[in-house]
Subunit: 191 residues, 2 copies
Amino acid sequence: MATRPNQRLAPSDLPTTSYAVLGLLTFGTMSGYDVKKVADQSLAFFFTPAKSQIYSELRRLVSLGYATEREVEQDRRPDKRLYRITDRGRRALRDWLDTAEVESGEIKSPFLVKVFFGAHMSREALLAQVKEVRRRDAEELQTLKGIETVIKDQEEMFFPYLTLKCGLAAARAVLRWEDEVIRELEKREGP
Amino acid sequence: MATRPNQRLAPSDLPTTSYAVLGLLTFGTMSGYDVKKVADQSLAFFFTPAKSQIYSELRRLVSLGYATEREVEQDRRPDKRLYRITDRGRRALRDWLDTAEVESGEIKSPFLVKVFFGAHMSREALLAQVKEVRRRDAEELQTLKGIETVIKDQEEMFFPYLTLKCGLAAARAVLRWEDEVIRELEKREGP
DNA sequence: TCAGCCATGTAATGGGTTACATGATTGA
DNA sequence: TCAATCATGTAACCCATTACATGGCTGA
């Protein structure tokens, strides 16, 4: 069946992950391995799928006609499959982006669950865990700052930079909160 | 086999959800429906399981001996099952809390994925979506502030209040970021 | 009188994670 | 020489979500 060239695609209602992968394919032809790497270096702050997830999304994108697959033989490396976004895929991506329904997003934090039930813990155990998380979060902030220096003046990175700024703002706020928690816990019943 | 009373339980490595439900049971005997309500009113910011998830967790807790189940017949209401945490369950909870490995948590934000690929959208579509998300986030912040006024002076809410402060800090930071994004988008190529 | 919420759950589906596989290259 | 990393994926599992089911009460 022939579809008219600029027709809007039926909103095929895939999970966000599919569109994220589809979006990454706009950067160029990639293998699943490549997609994973790029994702880890760009979307990582708010989107972190497993490899296997990416592979199955890519297969799905092909089955929907949103991408094409081409096998490439390699020596010294396992053969790989390269995926390229199609026009139909670009249209699907734009349709999803333009769809007015936005999901704001969620946080899943085992650490905060622990803090919530902190009354059942020794002060020392909780303090140690807060400090550990704080240390990692500070590292994370450094990483984000490193990315910032690289992309902040690249005009084509305007939108990624916006999301990075969200990460920076959130990271800084959380770090300040962690410092406050540490202070509060340390003054709560003396040493 | 008889276990010694205060023995450490083998770290049975359940998902965080299990321990969250177990933790909520320390507040008192509850049905699955109750657990869901309490969770929505307390952990909601960083932990939002579906009802069915809670029901299956409760069944698992029983099967592990971490909770007991008692059927209660009701008229005008469907019968219900009440769950009560056991000593063994309390020990399992404490052991999990004291375990040094903490997972910091993750963010999953379809909205940020959209912003990331904002170059593929019309400025108007993106702006509208940012404003919509900002509106919801402002509402969310109001809700958190409402909770704050209720619990901020209750000593027994000390730890829940700590997590609430994290939510407040993050929500404020994200709102400021959203305002910045709106300003940036509005000045980007004139009206 | 009728939609919507209270109240209690089950069933079906699928999204996403961890573990499994393989082999070459590189740094300690 | 041995672990780590690059490079590429598949298989199994299970966590978690959405849809389904039931019936009384309540407010417009």
